[in-house]
């Protein structure tokens, strides 16, 4: 299928606003939020640089939505501070609202309105008037591919179309930071791919995106880094790649060859930095005692030079889900709430 050539170039402008200056897009300092009987968020701190896409991961009730609602000025912290585009969410909520686009985990639409009326209402409510309002609506409809659905009642939209509409609404005022709470929840695979694609486009435009999801593999593909939260505490902040690799200083490689597996085993035994781990149907797993890409590449080159007919050679990574579970396990074992 063709990639859409739609973009938000005109609307989105530069990735970092002048008002934000050099301030991080999102900065959270020792943020806590408690409700009667519930400590939803406990002393969390993190920073998101402009243009980054950050995945916010955690089980239900971990504190993701509460944190996101505070960042969106819809709730207030019990202690600590949060800044979006350099503005304090408590003392300057209006400024924060101007630079964020918020997409909650629920639908948030009016069933008896058409797509066009819905976007028009929010464009008016955001203060757009006259031709500017028309242009904003047109750009958003074009970007989210809703033009053909403009006159359809929202009740008649599929979940995926509805999510695109919600994303369109969040983009109407061309925000610098997007806060998306479980945007892919309940979407079918096709709608999920479409949404992922739109988020990728927004990231290319330089938008900062904070996105929460249960589906870690999807976040891994989209995000520059992942923020794990558990029982109101941030337990890990790092890239998806580092998570997949884990803390290990070695790389596990899956190798497929033509010919005898014993040949691969013998070669590995004689080669420096390489250990043969186990045999598979048409090859085996070897461990290289480095994570440096250059070292891994040199091993592959040597293998070919030594006459092994390699048909597949790839780094075996942990699944993000496994990484998450492992981190939780480490926390339980250590008794400390933090993992470096």
């Amino acid at each position: 299928m063709n990639e859409p050539e739609t973009s938000m170039k005109t609307a989105c402008g530069s990735p970092v606003s002048e008002s934000a200056g050099s301030a991080p897009a999102i900065e959270v300092r020792n943020l806590s939020r408690w409700f009667p009987g519930v400590h939803a968020v406990r002393d969390i701190s993190f920073t998101v640089e402009p243009g980054q896409v950050i995945g916010f991961v955690g089980a239900n009730g971990a504190g993701k939505t509460t944190t996101m609602r505070i960042l969106a000025t819809l709730d207030h912290p019990s202690s600590g501070e949060a800044f979006v585009c350099g503005h304090n969410v408590v003392t300057h909520p209006a400024e924060v609202r101007r630079c964020i686009g918020w997409m909650p985990d629920h639908y948030g639409t009016y069933g008896h309105m058409t797509v066009l009326e819905y976007l028009d209402f929010f464009a008016r409510a955001l203060g757009f008037g006259g031709e500017e309002r028309i242009e904003r609506i047109a750009e958003v409809m074009e970007f989210t591919d809703l033009t053909g659905l403009a006159d359809r009642l929202i009740d008649a939209l599929s979940k995926g179309m509805g999510q695109r509409l919600c994303l369109g609404r969040a983009l109407l005022h061309d925000p610098e930071v997007l806060i998306l709470d479980e945007p892919a929840a309940g979407l079918d695979p096709k709608a999920r791919v479409e949404l992922k694609h739109l988020i990728r486009l927004l990231a290319q435009e330089g938008k900062t995106v904070l996105i929460s999801s249960h589906i870690l593999s999807e976040l891994g593909e989209m995000c520059d880094s992942l923020l794990f939260i558990n029982q109101g505490r941030v337990i890990h902040h790092g890239s998806a790649e580092s998570l997949r690799r884990g803390n290990s200083a070695a790389s596990l490689i899956e190798v497929q060859i033509t010919g005898s597996v014993a040949k691969l085993s013998a070669w590995a035994t004689l080669s420096p930095h390489v250990t043969f781990r186990e045999a598979t149907k048409s090859g085996g797993r070897i461990e290289i005692d480095s994570v440096e890409p250059a070292v891994i590449a040199s091993v592959l080159r040597r293998m070919i030079d030594d006459g092994i007919a390699v048909t597949d050679f790839h780094l075996q990574e942990r699944k993000l889900e496994d990484a998450f579970i492992e981190i939780l396990g480490e926390i339980e074992a250590s008794g400390s709430p933090f993992v470096s």
Partner: protein, 482 residues
């Protein structure tokens, strides 16, 4: 892969251009509500039904122009449409935004809670205006058929329109509560009050010609309707508002402004009507102020911090029940002074005249009526003393107290014992009020009543302050912070 766009950029622009049916200067909420409201079956059905009934009544009028039944038929359906059907359409106005999960989304735009509420109310009134416009030709035709005073009819229609505005404001204000039962109870309670008020207006004003004081009473009625509409709209707005919005200061200043305006009608020699209206305005404002949550967003206090006079103003204008208590005391002072003045100058006083102790006990007991539920809330429901349930609990306690008062008074009447024994059994301010009104006690008991009333007032102020010391000191700290 994402599906290719069905249309190009020019198409999107031409599609978007269709959204020019309402000018950009219109309130976004009004536009949205009109688009949604006009599409509902209820509006269409009500409009067609009203038109049909108008045609029928006109035809019946042709047959017998002087029939009061035809006249009653004509007005009955207009009243039903304007005072019941239209306001009831606002029953879910604000709560539906929560139900649809759209309230958060709207609050992230430039619309504050006041604009959201007023937008919904304006949309309902715009549709009421359509109904009124639809009725106008029939009003004119009735005039030509004879036996109809056009000016009276027109005035009636005008007041129906104003009444519909107030009734809609009540429904929309109450719709801020998400609990259907509470919403329903409030709507019924306010609805009954509204009907009583409206019937009084209809019977005493519109049926009995024109005159200087009657015109003034109509002006006073208009003031009541306007304040009522404002009150219920701001009541709803402040209930849905995030903590960062301050609606309290405006609400309280407007109440004081309307009080001053109402006091201006003293020139027209209708002091009892003025006293009633002032009493109503201040009562509504005080109940609202006393049940506001205290945890105050520090940013809201910023304007008060800038100037020493601002800090003084914060003591009664800042959001929350703490400022509400001070506001209540000021209102009580205003009302007491005014009542004392009226009591001295008027010959037909409803107060216990000629007895300063009874007069003081009477006024203090009225004040205690407002504070009494607050004592119970802070003593027995401290967790709900400063939240969204406070108003509901307050109303519930007042309702129970009213019921208890009626039962006790009935019992006292049956036993023919309007004395301290009966009232000592039910120690609530309203019972004391009944005791003072009936004047059955001797001088010794009158002093005990006065002391009880005074003590209750002091307890009413002290209990919330002591029970919520932490919140109070936090509030004061925020106010003093530079």
């Amino acid at each position: 892969m994402i599906s290719p766009p069905l249309t190009d950029a020019r198409d999107a622009l031409s599609v978007a251009r269709r959204m020019k049916d309402f000018p950009s200067s219109f309130s976004p909420m009004l536009v949205k509500e009109l688009r949604q409201g006009m599409r509902t079956h209820l509006f269409t059905v009500a409009f067609i039904l009203l038109q049909s009934v108008m045609v029928l009544s006109l035809l019946a009028g042709l047959a017998d122009p002087s029939s009061p039944a035809v006249d009653g038929f004509f007005w009955f359906f207009i009243v039903i449409t304007l005072l019941i059907v239209q306001p009831l359409r606002g029953f879910n106005a604000l709560s539906s935004e929560y139900l649809l999960n759209t309230m958060d989304l709207i609050q992230l735009t430039r619309l504050d809670s006041w604009r959201i509420t007023v937008g919904k109310w304006s949309a309902l009134n715009a549709q009421t205006l359509l109904f009124l416009t639809g009725v106008m030709p029939y009003l004119v035709m009735r005039y030509f058929l004879g036996n109809v005073d056009f000016i009276t009819d027109l005035t009636g229609l005008l007041f129906l329109g104003l009444g519909s505005g107030l009734a809609s404001a009540i429904a929309i204000g109450c719709s801020a509560f998400r609990q259907v039962v509470l919403r329903g109870v409030l709507l019924i309670a306010f609805g009954i009050g509204f009907v009583l008020l409206y019937v009084t207006i209809q019977t005493t004003l519109l049926r009995s010609g024109w005159g200087g004081s009657r015109l003034a009473t109509m002006g006073l009625t208009a003031i009541s309707l306007l304040y009522g509409s404002f009150f219920f709209l701001s009541f709803g707005a402040s209930r849905i508002a995030p903590l960062s919005e301050n609606h309290s200061t405006r609400k309280r200043l407007v109440a004081l402004g309307f009080t001053a305006l109402a006091l201006g009608f003293l020139w027209f020699d209708i002091e009892w009507a003025v006293l009633t209206v002032v009493g109503l305005i201040l009562s509504f404002a005080c109940v609202d102020a006393l049940t506001e949550p205290l945890p105050v967003y520090s940013k809201v206090l910023e304007p008060f911090r800038r100037h020493p006079l601002g800090r003084l103003g914060a003591s009664f204008l800042a959001p929350g029940w703490l400022g509400g208590i001070c506001f209540f005391l000021i209102c009580f002072g205003i009302f007491t002074s005014f009542a004392w003045f009226v009591n001295r100058t008027s010959s037909s006083s409803p107060f216990p005249t000629g007895d300063p102790i009874a007069f003081a006990t009477f006024l203090l007991s009225w004040a205690n009526l407002f504070l009494f539920p607050l004592i119970l809330i802070h003593l027995f429901f401290p967790r709900h003393a400063s939240g969204s349930f406070t108003f509901g609990i307050y109303t519930f306690i007042q309702g129970c107290a009213l019921l208890l008062t009626i039962m006790t008074a009935t019992l006292a009447e049956a036993l023919n014992r309007f004395d301290h024994l009966i009232f000592a059994l039910v120690p609530i301010p309203s019972i004391l009020l009944v005791a003072v009104e009936n004047g059955g006690a001797n001088d010794g008991y009158k002093l005990i009543y006065l002391a009880t009333a005074l003590l209750t007032l002091l307890i009413g102020i002290a209990v919330p302050l002591l029970r919520q010391r932490a919140a109070v000191s936090e509030f004061v700290r925020h106010l003093k912070r530079r």
